[in-house]
Structure formats: structure tokens, C-alpha cells
Assembly symmetry: C2
Homo-oligomer: 227 residues x 2
């Protein structure tokens, strides 16, 4: 699955899906190293591969004719990105943190017999993806700015952060603009909200990208729908 940064921790999905999936046994894979800023594919491109993120981070986004952008999802280790429709990609995909990617031919989706194990793995990833996107709908449609931001940080902490002695640390691989476009907010609102969390003593910033979460539970509480 590729994380849609919603209430992953609140769902009933089994723990194994949180871990980097074991690589299918007989995969004739080719692993590719990429750098931040590199574009993996763009909306409308012929979809020849699906990519499994091994390390690093990628960003999936769509842009409208008028220039407004929506970040669909961030891809972290274990996520699969690049699900095609009519053999084409429907988002842009950019690397935001140097990433290793495992490329799987798109044809595996069409011809299961070629590699049953990998096929099943990709179908499962697609189902997880749909489920995760449904979570994200709730966030976009029915949460306030602070709920969205708390939710985002909370899931990010769970996903790519560390917690020791009840204190969390997480490095944000994306800029404020990416977060805003992911949550359906403006950069100013994201910034303001994070500042408020800091004023409330919930978290602290060493740099703008490095966050120490003093009270992960408070963050989680805020991310559930308030009241």
C-alpha cells in the first residue's frame, strides 16, 4: 500500500501490512536508484511499470489546467505507486527524497499467469491503496485544518518516525507546500497550525523539517475528529 496518511493506525488492518512486504520470490526485478527532484513519470505517460518504493520517498500529484495542485499521496518504503488506467498514469510522480525503486512491468496486472505471486502482491497493494484513499477522503472532506495537520504528522510519525521514551522524532521529506497541497490547505495555514502545536507544547522544531513530538498521544487525539 502507499500511505495516504490518514488514520492507518485506527483501522483494523493487520499489522503485517505496516511492514515492508517481503519481496516476491521469483521476481525478475530491476532496482533503480533515484535522486530528489527526479520525475518518475508524469500524468498521461504510458504506464510501463509499477514502482515499489524500497527506500526514500516519492510524491504523487495532479495539477489542474488552472495550476491548482493536489498531492494525492506520498510513497514511502513498502508502498507501490503507478497504478495505471487505460495503460496510462494518472498522476505525476516525483522523487522527494533519494529513493531506491523496484520496477515491475505493468503487464503483470494483465497476465497473472506470468508471475502469479507478484500479480497477487500487486493486486493486494491496489486493494490497500483503495482502502487508504477512502481514509483520505474523510480527511479532505470532513476535517478541520488542525485535525488534518495533526493527523498528517501523527501518521507520518508512525510510518517513518521513531518513538523512544514516549517522545517521537520525525524528519519531513516534503516541504510545507507539499503538505498543504496534500491536505487541501495553504502553506500559511499549515505553518500557522504547526506553530500552534508548538505553542501548545505538543511538539518542537529543530529545523523546519525535523520535528520532535513531545506528546504523540495529544497529536493523535487531535487527529481523530474533534470533540
Amino acid at each position: 500500500m502507499y500511505v495516504t496518511l490518514s488514520e492507518t493506525f485506527a483501522t483494523d488492518q493487520c499489522p503485517s501490512t505496516r511492514e515492508v512486504p517481503r519481496q516476491p520470490a521469483n521476481d525478475r526485478h530491476l532496482t533503480r536508484a533515484t535522486r530528489a527532484g527526479e520525475t518518475l513519470f508524469a500524468e498521461g505517460d504510458a504506464a510501463n511499470h509499477l514502482y515499489e518504493v524500497v527506500t526514500g520517498a516519492v510524491r504523487l500529484a495532479r495539477v489542474t489546467i488552472t495550476g491548482r495542485r493536489q498531492v494525492i499521496a506520498f510513497g514511502f518504503p513498502g508502498d507501490v505507486v503507478g497504478f495505471p488506467h487505460n495503460r496510462r498514469y494518472h498522476t505525476d510522480c516525483d522523487v522527494i527524497q533519494a529513493a531506491e525503486l523496484r520496477a515491475h512491468p505493468r503487464s503483470i496486472l494483465d497476465t497473472p499467469a506470468d508471475n502469479p505471486i507478484l500479480h497477487r502482491y500487486l493486486v493486494n497493494a491496489a486493494m490497500a491503496e483503495i482502502s487508504g484513499m477512502q481514509d483520505h477522503f474523510l480527511m479532505l472532506g470532513r476535517k478541520s485544518a488542525s485535525e488534518k495537520t495533526a493527523s498528517f504528522l501523527s501518521v507520518l510519525l508512525m510510518r517513518i518516525g521513531t518513538i523512544s521514551n514516549g517522545v517521537g522524532h520525525v524528519h519531513l521529506p516534503m516541504c510545507r507546500g507539499d503538505i498543504a497541497d496534500f491536505l487541501g490547505l495553504t502553506t500559511e495555514t499549515v505553518s500557522r497550525t504547526i506553530s500552534q502545536f508548538r505553542a501548545d507544547g505538543i511538539l518542537g522544531l529543530t529545523t523546519a523539517q525535523d520535528i520532535t513530538v513531545f506528546d504523540p498521544l495529544a497529536l493523535r487525539r487531535l487527529s481523530e475528529l474533534e470533540e
Copy 2:
């Protein structure tokens, strides 16, 4: 695919996906008739079937612990609903207009060999679903109330309405509350916005559910991101 009521007409997907898909040849299907108000499945239920909507309309929704609701999608003829994750449904599914449904065993997703044609059909539906949901993200995250409403009506008109002599007609199978929860608005805002469209001469209401679209193009123009 099941429509997420976004800019379907604006994407580059091939026309065939707009039509009711031909039924897989060797499907041992069971068709089921349902009435408005009936619940097909609820969030958390074991997912034994995927349902292909043949006639009528269904509503997919999730509700939070605090009672806020997000309508994930409406399912119309040709759409497939009930994609599972970890063998469970992750939304509620209710019939909103008497519907005929074709039930396909969930196991088809796991064991392609059992019915390769149906399997491929379902996988394709899942890909379309992901693509459609990505459209919907743009709507929820980056559109104003009037853009959302125009977009919704415009897609609905294309999908289940009729146009003759440049004038469109569409019957809304869902109530204002459903529309609001789908678009991330309140019923009041939906009502206000539709009233505004009426005042602008874009559309007219015979009943609250029956809309005549005098100017489908204007509606479509409004649904693109404004300016």
C-alpha cells in the same frame, strides 16, 4: 469503475469506459434485486462479494466515531463496488435507488485462474476506481463550493442524465445531505449553490430531485477550476 463524479469527461480515458461494460462471458453470476434503503454491506463486514451495479444506484460512505460522514462514491450502472482490504469492506454500502446487482465472489481477486476473464475485469475496475478517486481528491481538496456542485451536477448529467437539443435532464437519486457529504459541504451550502445556479439561469428544478440543465456548458465551465 464506479464513478467518483469528478471530471470524467475531461480526462483522456477512452470512451468505452463510459459505457456499461460487457459482462464477462463465463461468469457464474447471481443477480440480486434490491430496494432503496437496503444495506448491502457495512464497514468492517467480511467481504465475500464484489458487486457490479446493473441498474439503480448505491452509496458508499464512511462514518467517524464522532458521527461525521463522508460519502466516498455513488455507484451507478457499470460500476463495481465492494473492493476489500484484508478481506473486509471498508465502507458502508446502501442502496439509494432500487438496484439490480451482480455479485462476484471476492476469491476471484485472489485466484485469477478460477476465472481469468472475470478476474481481469475486476482488476481493471479496481484500476479505474483508483484513477477516479484521484480525480475526486482534486475536487475535495482544491475546489470551491460552487465548483464542487457544478462539477457534481455536470458529471451526474453525463453519467445518468440525458441531453437533447442542448438541454439536459437529470434525476438525482440522492438527497441533499448525501451530496453535501460527498462534496465535503453542508446541505445548506449545496442548497444555496443550486439556488444560485437557478438564479443565474443555468438550471431549473421541477422537483428537488429533477433538474433541467439549460446550459450544460456553463455548468461544465464552472466545474473546471474557476478563473
